[in-house]
Symmetry: C2
Subunit: 310 residues, 2 copies
Amino acid sequence: MAEGEFDVIVIGAGPAGMSSAVFIARANLKTLVIGDPEKSELIKAESVGNYLFANGRGGRELLDEGIAQVEKYGAMAIVNEVVHIAKDEPSGIFTVKTADAKEYSARAVVLAIGVSYVQSGIKGEKELSGKGVHYCVACDGYFYKGKKVLVVGSGNYAAEEAIELLAYTSDITIISNGREFAISPELMAGLQKGSVKMRKDRGTEFIKPSASAKLTLAKKDGTKEDFDGAFVALGTASTVGFANKLGLELDKDGFIVIGRNGMTSVDGVYAAGSCTGGALQMAKSVGEGCVAAISIIKKLRGIDNYSDLT
Amino acid sequence: MAEGEFDVIVIGAGPAGMSSAVFIARANLKTLVIGDPEKSELIKAESVGNYLFANGRGGRELLDEGIAQVEKYGAMAIVNEVVHIAKDEPSGIFTVKTADAKEYSARAVVLAIGVSYVQSGIKGEKELSGKGVHYCVACDGYFYKGKKVLVVGSGNYAAEEAIELLAYTSDITIISNGREFAISPELMAGLQKGSVKMRKDRGTEFIKPSASAKLTLAKKDGTKEDFDGAFVALGTASTVGFANKLGLELDKDGFIVIGRNGMTSVDGVYAAGSCTGGALQMAKSVGEGCVAAISIIKKLRGIDNYSDLT
């Protein structure tokens, strides 16, 4: 079912992801970059002054050049959105699924996913987290076998979470929380096949007076609806989404914890750029992309030292 | 006596130093860069392929552009060699001395000094380290009051160490270990004023049979000479030299230990680039320069968050 087998998949096509892909591809490892450069914060920069040797150039021009540089050294770059990731044990192989329902496998992944956390604004979400409100179907879907479940979100990530829920229950409702739905044809077909209900309702509050009580969603139109549980999957898969699916350690601010070598708490998973916290700067992102790449090259090649001299 | 007072002095004019200087100067802090771009490893690169957005450009062209970028944002850059650094307590002010005997002060320093450790090749050096053979006059010169002392080295760093020794003793000999001496007129005047002896002898072995015995230097010409102690100061001031003078923690491989925010173990001292170990890559150096800069800006401005958006 896998569209392609790679040594490394880089998730994210901003400066951190591009930098790591350049190094990894130059080391002759089969490299796939999945992401949309247009979603990088860099696209907003009219003139970049602080990144050494790119003085005065525009963000869009740099991103175009970056993708060309990535491809020049043999990495494949596809503009898409990652909606699911899983690690198989004991093989240690990662499977990454995109919004067009294609799957790719790799021996290591670099998360260069930026900061994209979107809050639902629904009252009670935080208080009921883990007590009826969840963030990861792969982690908690099991508890809702045959139950009535809500998914909150309007994009491909929410669609993928709903489709994963079909393994446990057939009574699934997605609410877009007032937004327009934006879902790929492939995932839409999966939702329709599973008879997933889709509505543009906007939630205002989650209510659950006791552990055994239903989870009630109060809505902006004044109505209320009961569910057994809810999964929040707003925006694109964020650090929280990836952390839940892979078991990554996050710091208190929700950033991915890495060591000085770019490794996360999960073997084979590396992270770089804004998703690791600290300075939100292109130079820091490019540097971390490099560091993660060198660590991966050493790991996959089984060597202690690696230098890319030019 | 200080030639100039700065907020920050960046020591080293390779990619790490330049990157940090660009960020610091853009934050309107008075910034001085001391170093020689020609001594950066980057100068050897005919075509840079792995640094994002500098695809195919030459090392010399990039270094020239980097210095222009540093100066564009108001940092001062001088091509010189740092021969001494000290931190005053309790003021926390750093004094940095260059080979032309000028002094500059700053509230924080970035060490971006690369890897330049030179070994003497003299047998017994390592075994007698701390037991007659030393690496820091500011640390250990005191033990040689009125004694006969040897300095091993041919450059400005050795000259500065010898001049510092004049505070303790007048019987000082520098041997160049077979190299030509290369010392600035200002430091040469200091050596002559102090009647420091200079010879091109080459040492082959340090011998010291017991704690109370003299330190004997065996030479290539077959002769031997006794000293009370020796200070090794080869090449330029390296991580070991700076670590000794400032009390910095080094790792087991001799690299400067930093945290993820670029801070060393000494307050006000930051490090970036090859001198911190890890990947010897321009991208990593530029990233670490950025990270150290942001930390310094936050510290000197007393703020918790700082972003330089372009």
